[in-house]
C-alpha cells in the first residue's frame, strides 16, 4: 500500500477513517460507551401466537 505523499493527504486519510468509523458505529449500533437498553413499551405480539 502506498503511503500518503504529503501531510495534507495524511490528514485527509485520518478524516476519511474517522468518518468511516462513525458510519460503522452509527449503522451497526456499536457504541464506545454502553447504553441502557430500552425495550419498546408496546411490542407487537407475535402474530402466529395462538390464543
Amino acid at each position: 500500500m502506498r503511503m500518503p505523499s504529503s501531510a495534507g493527504e495524511a490528514i485527509a486519510w485520518v478524516i476519511v477513517a474517522l468518518a468511516a468509523i462513525y458510519l460503522v458505529t452509527r449503522f451497526t449500533g456499536i457504541r464506545w460507551r454502553p447504553k441502557v437498553l430500552q425495550k419498546p413499551d408496546v411490542p407487537l405480539s407475535n402474530l402466529t401466537k395462538k390464543r
Binding site: G8, A12, I15, A19, L23, F27, P40, V42, P43
Partner: protein, 695 residues
C-alpha cells in the same frame, strides 16, 4: 429520594401534550387531531423545592384499552398507584372526559382536574363552572388555557389539595359481589367486568384472582353487567355535568365547523378541495422555493471557490471542496422546500383539516381492507416514516397495524423531496404550463406523490388479501373543531423538523460524503496518470490542456473503488436508463435517500467540474453517456423518479419496523418487496416508454 410523579391523563386531542409543553417548557409534538402521542413522555420539574416527574400519556377514552397506545396509558396508571393524576378534560366534550375520570378514580388515588378549551366551549354556549365541579368532585378543578404557561403552572399549586374524587356511582349487584368475593374496591371489580372483553390481557392488568372470577362469569351475565357498569358511569357523568353546567348549551347545529364540514366532507366536493389543496401545495413547493434554492446554490459555489483560492492544490483541498462542500451543500440546498413542506403539513394538521381527509379517505381505505385510521400514520409518513411507523400504535387491530406499517414507507417522505426536485429540475425544466397555472415540474412532483399513495394503498390491498387476511374493524375517529393555528406553534414544528434534517445532513451525510469522496479518489490509477502526463508533453494550448485534465479526471474516477463498484452494477441498472455514476448514487442512497443528491454532487463534481463551480442541476443536464448520448432525458429521469418512489432506502425505517414488530422478518420482507417493486416499475417505464418512441 425519588421524584413524585404526576400523570397527565385525558381523552385524545384534549390538549394534554400542549399542557405538558406549557408545564415543562418543552416542545413535544402536538396537533389538532387525535392520536399524536403514542408513547409516554416525561419531563423533570422542580415544584416547591421538590422534584416532580411529569408524564404525558397517550389519549384514551377508558382504561379498557383497545389499541397499543391506550395500553401504554392504562399500564402506566396501573404501575404507578401512588402517582398524582391530572385528568385533562376538554370542556367542549366534557361528558367523555368525565367518563374517563370515573374509570381513573380509585381509593387512594389523588386527582386534580384541568378543564381545557373552556373558551371554545363558551363560544358554543357551554358554560362550565370549575368551582361547582370542584365542589361536587371534592378535588381541585381549574379551567386553563393549555398554551398559557402561567395558567398551567397554577395547576401545580393545586397538587397540594389533590384528593380522592367523590363519585356517586351506583354499580350493579354483580360488581358489588365480585368486589366482596375478591376483596377489592368496587371500582376495581367494575374494571374487571369491563376488561373481560379483552381476555388476552386481563390477567396482567387485574391480577390472577380477580381476572379468573371475571372470566368465570356466564357470557349473558357478563354482557348485562358491562352494560350496567357503563350506564352507572354515564349516569354519574351526566349528574356531574348538570351540576357544573350553569346554562344549557345553545343549539349547535350550525356552528362554523359544521358549515365548513358540509363542503370539506362532501363525497365529491371534499375530494375536489383536497386535490386543489394538494395541487397548490406542490406548486408552492416547486416554484416558491426556487429563489431560495438558487441563493443557497450560489453560497455553496462561493464556499467551494473560496476554499480553492485559500488552499493550494492538494488532496485535502479536494476532500473539502469535492467531498464535504459538494456532498453536504447539495443536500442543504433543499432545506427551503423541506421547510415549506413541513410548514404546510403542520398548518393542515393544526387547522383540523387532515382529520377530515382521514374521514374522506376512509371509504377508499375500506375498499382495500384498511380502516381510515390507517390514513393518519400514512399521512405522517409524508414527513418521515419513522414516527409514522410508531404512529400505527393507534390502530387497534394487529393485522391492520402491520399492513399499515409495511405499506406506509411507500408514501413519499421528505427525504425523497430533494431527489424528486433535483431530477425534475434537470429533465422537466422549461416545459410548458399545465392548464396555464401549474408548472410541469409541479405536476410531475404531484404525480410522484400520488403514485406513492397509490403504491401504498395497492400494497396494503394485496397484503390484506394474501399474507395478512382478516376482517376490518369499523373506524371511529373524533373530528376536531377547526382552529386557526398559531404562527409560533407552526414555526416551532417546522424548525424542529428542519433542525432534525440539518443534524442528519451534518452527521450521516457529511460522513458518507467524506467516505464516498475517498472511494471516488482511491486507488489512484497510475497508468492513467502516466498516460495523460505523456499526452501533456509538448502541449501548450490552454484549451487542449484543459481537455486532457478533464479526460484524466474521468479516467481516474472510472478506475476508483466507487467507479469499479458502479461499473460492476451497471449491467443491472442499464436497462433502467441509468449509468454507473447514477449506480454509485443508488448504492449510497440505501443508507438514506437524500444521500443520492450528495453522492451525485460528488460523482459529477469531481469528474467534470472545473474551477468555476456549476450547480449540480447544470452538471446533470449536460452529462453524457460513454456513447455521447444525453444521460438525463425525460424518460430516464422518470424511471429514476419511479425507482425512488418505491424503493426502501432508509435504514432508520427498517430499524423502526424491527423495533415495533420485535422481529427481523417483517423489515426484511418490506425491504424485499419494495426493492423489487421499484426495480420492476422503473424497468417497465424505461423499456415500454422507449418502445413507444419516448426519449
Amino acid at each position: 429520594m425519588s421524584a413524585s410523579k404526576l400523570l397527565l391523563v385525558g381523552n385524545p386531542n384534549s390538549g394534554k401534550t400542549t399542557l405538558f409543553n406549557a408545564l415543562a417548557g418543552m416542545r413535544a409534538r402536538t396537533g389538532n387531531y387525535p392520536g399524536i402521542t403514542v408513547e409516554k413522555r416525561s419531563a423533570s420539574l422542580e415544584h416547591q423545592g421538590k422534584a416532580l416527574e411529569l408524564i404525558d400519556l397517550p389519549g384514551t377514552y377508558s382504561l379498557t384499552p383497545n389499541s397499543p397506545d391506550e395500553e401504554v396509558a392504562e399500564r402506566e396508571l396501573r404501575n404507578c398507584p401512588e402517582a398524582n393524576v391530572l385528568v385533562v378534560v376538554d370542556a367542549t366534550a366534557i361528558s367523555r372526559g368525565l367518563y374517563l375520570l370515573t374509570d381513573v378514580a380509585r381509593p387512594g388515588r389523588k386527582i386534580t382536574v384541568a378543564l381545557t378549551m373552556a373558551d371554545e366551549a363558551k363560544r358554543r354556549g357551554i358554560e362550565i363552572s370549575a368551582q361547582a365541579l370542584s365542589e361536587t368532585l371534592n378535588v381541585p378543578v381549574r379551567a386553563v388555557d393549555a398554551r398559557d404557561r402561567e395558567a398551567a403552572r397554577a395547576l401545580l399549586r393545586d397538587l397540594e389539595n389533590a384528593a380522592e374524587v367523590t363519585l356517586d356511582l351506583d354499580y350493579p349487584g354483580l360488581v358489588t359481589k365480585l368486589a366482596r368475593d375478591a376483596d377489592v374496591p368496587e371500582s376495581e371489580a367494575a374494571r374487571a367486568v369491563m376488561g373481560a372483553a379483552h381476555p388476552e390481557s386481563i390477567e396482567e392488568r387485574l391480577g390472577d384472582s380477580l381476572a379468573k372470577r371475571a372470566l368465570a362469569l356466564a357470557p349473558e351475565e357478563l354482557a348485562a353487567a358491562q352494560e350496567a357498569v357503563a350506564c352507572a358511569r354515564y349516569a354519574c357523568t351526566e349528574a356531574l355535568k348538570s351540576a357544573a353546567t350553569s346554562a344549557p348549551p345553545k343549539a349547535t347545529n350550525d356552528t362554523r365547523t359544521e358549515a365548513i364540514d358540509r363542503v370539506l366532507l362532501h363525497p365529491i366536493l371534499g375530494l375536489l378541495v383536497f386535490a386543489l389543496v394538494m395541487g397548490l401545495l406542490f406548486e408552492g413547493l416547486f416554484s416558491g422555493a426556487d429563489p431560495f434554492i438558487e441563493l443557497i446554490e450560489g453560497a455553496v459555489g462561493s464556499a467551494q471557490s473560496l476554499v480553492r483560492t485559500m488552499m493550494g492544490e492538494s488532496v485535502l483541498r479536494d476532500l473539502i471542496t469535492d467531498g464535504v462542500i459538494a456532498g453536504v451543500g447539495n443536500v442543504v440546498v433543499f432545506v427551503p422546500q423541506i421547510a415549506m413542506l413541513f410548514l404546510a403539513i403542520a398548518f393542515l394538521e393544526d387547522s383540523g383539516y387532515l382529520a377530515r381527509v382521514a374521514f374522506l379517505i376512509d371509504r377508499v381505505m375500506r375498499g382495500i381492507g384498511l380502516q381510515g385510521g390507517a390514513f393518519v400514520p400514512m399521512l405522517s409518513g409524508f414527513a418521515c416514516a419513522v414516527p409514522a411507523v410508531m404512529g400505527t400504535r393507534t390502530i387497534a387491530s394487529e393485522k391492520d397495524r402491520l399492513v399499515t406499517m409495511l405499506a406506509l414507507p411507500l408514501t413519499s417522505c421528505s427525504a425523497r423531496l430533494p431527489v424528486y426536485v433535483l431530477i425534475i429540475a434537470v429533465v422537466f425544466a422549461g416545459e410548458s404550463r399545465v392548464l396555464g397555472i401549474f408548472s410541469m415540474g409541479a405536476v410531475v412532483l404531484f404525480s410522484m406523490y400520488m403514485l406513492s399513495v397509490l403504491g401504498a394503498l395497492g400494497a396494503a390491498a394485496i397484503m390484506r388479501r394474501t399474507i395478512l387476511k382478516g376482517p376490518t374493524p369499523p373506524f371511529v375517529m373524533e373530528l376536531p373543531p377547526y382552529r386557526m393555528p398559531t404562527l409560533g406553534a407552526l414555526l416551532r414544528i417546522t424548525w424542529s423538523k428542519v433542525k432534525g434534517f440539518l443534524i442528519d445532513a451534518g452527521s450521516v451525510i457529511l460522513a458518507l460524503s467524506i467516505v464516498l469522496w475517498a472511494l471516488l479518489t482511491y486507488p489512484v490509477h497510475e497508468e492513467s496518470v502516466a498516460h495523460y502526463a505523456a499526452q501533456r508533453e509538448g502541449v501548450t494550448d490552454a484549451a487542449e490542456l484543459e481537455a486532457i485534465d478533464q479526460a484524466q479526471r474521468a479516467a481516474l474516477l472510472e478506475h476508483s473503488a466507487a467507479g469499479s463498484l458502479g461499473k460492476a452494477i451497471e449491467p443491472i441498472i442499464e436497462p433502467l436508463g441509468m449509468d454507473w455514476r447514477i449506480g454509485v448514487g443508488i448504492v449510497g442512497s440505501f443508507a438514506a435517500r437524500e444521500v443520492l443528491v450528495s453522492t451525485l454532487g460528488i460523482v459529477f463534481g469531481s469528474g467534470e467540474a472545473d474551477e468555476e463551480s456549476e450547480s449540480l442541476r447544470e452538471q446533470l443536464s449536460s452529462a453524457t453517456r460513454a456513447d455521447g448520448s444525453q444521460l438525463m432525458t425525460p424518460l430516464s429521469g422518470l424511471a429514476l423518479l419511479i425507482f425512488f418512489v418505491f424503493a426502501c432506502q432508509c435504514m432508520s425505517t427498517l430499524a423502526a419496523v424491527k423495533r415495533e414488530t420485535q422481529s427481523w422478518k417483517w423489515p426484511l420482507f418490506m425491504f424485499g418487496y419494495m426493492t423489487v417493486l421499484a426495480y420492476v416499475s422503473a424497468l417497465l417505464v424505461y423499456q415500454v416508454g422507449g418502445m413507444m418512441g419516448f426519449t
